[in-house]
């Protein structure tokens, strides 16, 4: 697999009341060309902040360390101007709520063409026909009329498609999608998932798909990484991580979910305790207080994300689910 993006030792600190808080604590992962890479985790796990760090969209006062090599260039080492040239052109992002991520007072045409004209210097006419092409690509009916409309005139699913069209306007090779379907109805979500699958198939678009929803991951992710309290706890091919999880947190998440495909109802098994927050990260393995396989060593050393073969990694030295 050719790595399109290699993130190595990413650390993000945000200002806290007394001291900076390490929200992302040394995260490493790789995204291949044309693959859908899932970043799973619950709120506070650092999955969104990690991606915002790549695009330099963090709040003022944030500190970022580590490397993020995208198509041979370390994004974190670029100056602001150089990064702005890449952002929107080579890699772009869509967010959870299209009602707040789209500009309410600019027409769809404006939002689709502004950055195209900035990055590619297209004339207004060319930019407009590109915009129509994009709306067709994301299956917005009657694109010509849609161009002169405003976001509030569309449904949530349509708005998200428009947001995706905007993100794809300059033909980036990587799209970061942060909970793109969470705010949508499940039937609408299915349409967006299909759209992402088509984009991967027809245009070789790589996607970093950030979502807490392991069901969504199951439908479309090629590889998957699981975040907990700002660290990666498990990663690998999606099917392996979901069907044969090696980290107790991943297993715990799957057991806490209702499984619609099950032929009979089993009780939901919650993970005991509450999720660790970056402010209160337990020593050693952040998950140890909630873990059924907790040993003394788990609270002393921060586990390393170890290679467990088959392109899989797990940050559990106890490795209770390994097969002999």
């Amino acid at each position: 697999m050719t790595a399109l993006l290699e993130v190595d030792g990413l650390r993000v600190l945000l200002p806290g009341r007394r001291a900076p808080i390490t929200v992302v604590d040394g995260v490493s992962f790789e995204v291949g060309e044309g693959e859908i890479f899932g970043v799973a985790g619950e709120s506070g796990s650092g999955k969104t902040i990690s991606s915002l760090a790549l695009l330099r969209l963090l709040p003022r006062g944030a500190t970022v360390e580590g490397r993020a090599v995208f198509a041979g260039v370390d994004l974190l080492a670029l100056d602001d101007r150089a990064l702005r040239k890449k952002r929107g052109l080579e890699l772009s992002m869509v967010f959870q709520d299209p009602m707040t991520s789209l500009h309410p007072m600019l027409s769809v045409e404006r939002q689709l063409t502004d950055h195209v004209r900035y990055h590619l210097g297209l004339s207004r006419k060319l930019a407009r026909s590109r915009a129509i092409e994009l709306l067709e690509q994301v299956r917005i009916p009657d694109p010509e009329t849609a161009l002169s409309a405003y976001p509030h005139q569309f449904s949530g699913g349509m708005r998200q498609r428009i947001a995706i069209a905007i993100a794809l306007a300059c033909r980036p090779s990587l799209l970061i999608a942060d909970e793109p379907t969470t705010a949508l109805d499940v039937t609408v979500q299915a349409g967006i998932i299909s759209l992402l699958a088509e984009l991967r198939r027809d245009y070789g678009l790589a996607v970093i798909l950030i979502t807490h929803d392991l069901g969504v991951m199951s439908t479309i992710a090629d590889r998957l990484t699981v975040f907990y309290a700002g660290r990666v706890v498990e990663s690998g091919p999606m099917q392996a991580v979901i069907q044969d999880s090696r980290h107790p947190y991943t297993r715990g998440l799957l057991e806490a979910l209702p499984h619609p495909e099950a032929t009979e109802r089993r009780p939901l098994v919650p993970i005991s305790g509450a999720a660790a927050t970056p402010q209160d990260r337990p020593p050693g393995c952040a998950f140890h207080p909630r873990c059924g396989f907790n040993r003394d060593s788990c609270s002393s050393a921060v586990p390393v994300l170890a290679d467990i073969g088959d392109d899989r990694h797990s940050a559990c030295p106890v490795d209770p689910f390994a097969r002999a």
């Binding site: 619950e42 109805d185 699958a197 807490h212 199951s218 979901i242 209702p258 619609p260």
Partner: protein, 332 residues
């Protein structure tokens, strides 16, 4: 006798200069003691409006709402009859439904003071009992809501509802703001409360997987009407309304299979201008002429299982089966 009986409820909203929106157009639901009734549907289906009407937060335009056999008195500035305090509600957002400036114990204690006339040590003891019932320590009473996580706050909201000794609790999306594990914990809590305290629950949710897990019976809403209802497992395994089938097919399964969920073409129409005949007909994969003009009533397709579809009675396919229905041209 059901504790809550909604019969042919309509709720209409009027807007100046626009046609009125009939958010609920004839819905009937009952909730019995100890029964968990799920109400599912997508945006614009009217489930939250129906939930609010069921508590008296909205007055229905037509139809009747009975609580313990009596007409439910809407919540206005005048006090509701005390018996009707046995109908309680838990809201979606645990961050805004608790008063941030009052200690948890005093918020739970409101119901005890007003309804049971408790005070002092007796009040404190009962608050402690309620907190423990929802899985929180008694010491939580002295703290403020912001000191708790979303899941814990939702437990506090449930304890507050339990303080009124309810016979029915209406819960509007109680789990959607919570993380996976907190969802599991609260879902299990609701199941055990219904069983142990014999409280009826009307659980409104867009999350079919959770509703399948928790509810005994489920009603599916689309654009203001109930299109299917019945025992949860029966509906899940043998859905008879095309919308229910589409809904179930589009729920992603966390099974690592890489199978894309089925999507439903088209969009939910404007509730102010619903389609004629069956409201689902413009998006229905098996639409026939009759659907465009005649509104289907609920037909019984199995014990306790009803669906509002002209083709429901004849069609005995399950979701997984692709065999055509008996008697159709494709068969020998």
């Amino acid at each position: 006798m059901s504790i809550v009986e909604l019969s042919d409820v309509h709720v209409e909203f009027h807007r100046r200069g626009s046609p009125p929106v009939r958010a609920v157009a004839g819905a009937s639901i009952t909730v019995d003691r100890g029964q968990i009734v799920g109400l599912v549907g997508e945006s614009g289906c009217g489930k939250s409006t129906l939930a609010r009407a069921a508590c008296g937060l909205l007055t229905p335009t037509a139809g009747s709402i009975l609580f313990e056999g009596e007409r439910l008195v809407p919540l206005t500035r005048r006090a509701r009859p005390l018996e009707q305090a046995r109908l309680q509600m838990v809201f979606q957002n645990p961050f805004s439904s608790l008063n941030p400036r009052r200690r948890v114990g005093s918020q739970i204690g409101d119901g005890l003071e007003i309804l049971a006339g408790l005070s002092g040590a007796a009040l404190d003891a009962r608050v402690a009992e309620l907190l423990e019932q929802v899985g929180l320590p008694a010491t939580a009473a002295r703290r403020y809501p912001h000191e708790f996580s979303g899941g814990q706050r939702q437990r506090i909201a449930i304890a507050r509802a339990l303080a009124a000794e309810p016979s029915v609790i209406v819960l509007d999306e109680p789990l959607s703001a919570l993380d996976t594990s907190a969802q599991a914990q609260i879902a299990n809590l609701l199941t055990s409360l219904a069983r142990e305290l014999e409280i009826g629950l009307l659980l409104i949710s867009h999350d079919l997987a959770i509703v399948r897990q928790v509810a005994h019976v489920v009603s599916v809403m689309y654009l203001g009407v109930i299109v299917e209802s019945g025992p949860t497992e029966e509906i899940w395994m043998r859905p008879r309304h095309p919308y229910t089938r589409a809904l179930i097919a589009s729920v992603p399964r966390a099974d690592g299979s890489g199978v894309l969920p089925g999507s439903l073409p088209g969009e939910v129409p404007d509730p102010a201008r619903p389609p004629a005949g069956c409201r689902f007909h413009p998006r229905c994969p098996i639409v026939v002429d009759r659907c465009r003009s005649d509104v289907p009533g609920m037909v019984t397709v199995a014990t306790g299982h009803q669906a509002a579809c002209w083709l429901a009675a004849a069609d005995t396919r399950t979701v997984a089966s692709s065999a055509p229905p008996a008697g159709s041209p494709g068969q020998a």
